[in-house]
């Protein structure tokens, strides 16, 4: 069942290269321009990522994260969720680098191929830092209120978290 997944990325690279080649794009220099942008992005987020990874590292080492996760267990049990992914679900709408730091913590402590690790990956990949995006887009346009947007987006986010968990159970176990 997992074999077809190995085709997705190589086929995509093949299609893009063929397309670029047929359209007379200077593929390699275009590739380099994009790769440089990607490198710049990583360099730009590194300081905040470092700061947040330290904070989350300390929070976990102190035992505070275990206490927090333990408190949530009665709620997460209702939806069959691993409480380890709740900090990610809560931080995802707020900050991209904080959720990245949390995801790397979950992958490290639970394992990248564990159910919690995969669910966390799916949540990270399928949701957006909605509070940040809204602030930037509305702030730059001089709009003060966007009725119902936040409520709808956050409700949908938490429903999607629960769906992600069931999808991962269905796909991987």
């Amino acid at each position: 069942m997992l074999a077809y997944i190995n085709y997705i990325i190589p086929l995509l690279v093949l299609i893009i290269l063929l397309w670029g080649f047929l359209k007379n794009v200077d593929c390699f220099s275009s590739f380099l321009t994009g790769a440089k942008e990607g490198m710049q992005t990583v360099v730009d987020i590194l300081p905040s990522l470092m700061g947040l990874m330290v904070a989350i590292g300390v929070f976990r080492a102190s035992g505070a994260l275990d206490i927090f996760v333990g408190l949530l267990k009665p709620i997460t049990d209702i939806f069959n969720l691993d409480p380890q992914i709740i900090p990610l679900a809560l931080l995802r709408p707020i900050s991209g680098s904080a959720s990245l730091a949390i995801l790397s913590d979950v992958l490290k402590t639970s394992g990248a191929d564990s159910l919690a690790g995969r669910t966390a990956s799916v949540i990270m990949g399928s949701s957006e830092t909605i509070l940040y995006t809204m602030t930037i887009y509305l702030g730059a346009s001089g709009i003060k209120k966007a009725p119902k947007v936040l409520l709808a987006a956050l409700l949908a986010h938490f429903i999607a978290v629960i769906i992600s968990n069931y999808l991962c159970i269905a796909f991987f176990s």
């Binding site: 995509l12 992005t41 300390v58 900050s95 399928s126 966007a146 769906i163």
Partner: protein, 195 residues
Amino acid sequence: MLNFIWVVLLIIGILVGIANGRIEEINASLLTSAGSAVTFGIGILGIICLWCGIMNIASDAGAVNFMAKLLRPFIHLLFPRTKKNKEAEKQVMTNLIANFLGLGNGATPSGISAVRELQKSTGGDIAVKDVCLFLVINSAAIQLIPTTVIALRAASGAKNPADILVPTWISSMVGCIIAITIFLLLSIKTKKVKR
């Protein structure tokens, strides 16, 4: 917000650590996390560069214009204001496609312009329905290849880092549909949102 979260995590972490008698672990964590963050940054750098490069080829080959053609009918349906305002149509499509392809640098400027254009000629500081819907759709990240997540999984030793692709696609699409549905239900009920 991030300021608050960061400070609270560190303060509570250190206080709870002292109370738990885990000061040794706290000390070790403070000193090693910073270094491992940099190792981690280098670990994800390769895949992110590779994919940004590949997607830039797609972008130079005209992927945005190509997909815009496919997307246009849906855009007109979801955002009626784009039928008359060509600039709004262009910016909305550029933003959604840039997000889909993971052209991160292209998404924010076009998103801001899209919101401005959609709001144009209303004069109010309360977002019109098209703007609200645009933000709602932006809240679900429908992305072809979630590069950062895959890079992170590869750096964490996943056997097949890309194996989360299909559930991620399903989850983001379902999430987007749910978000739109909830928003439409909420706005029908109150009728407060201007068209």
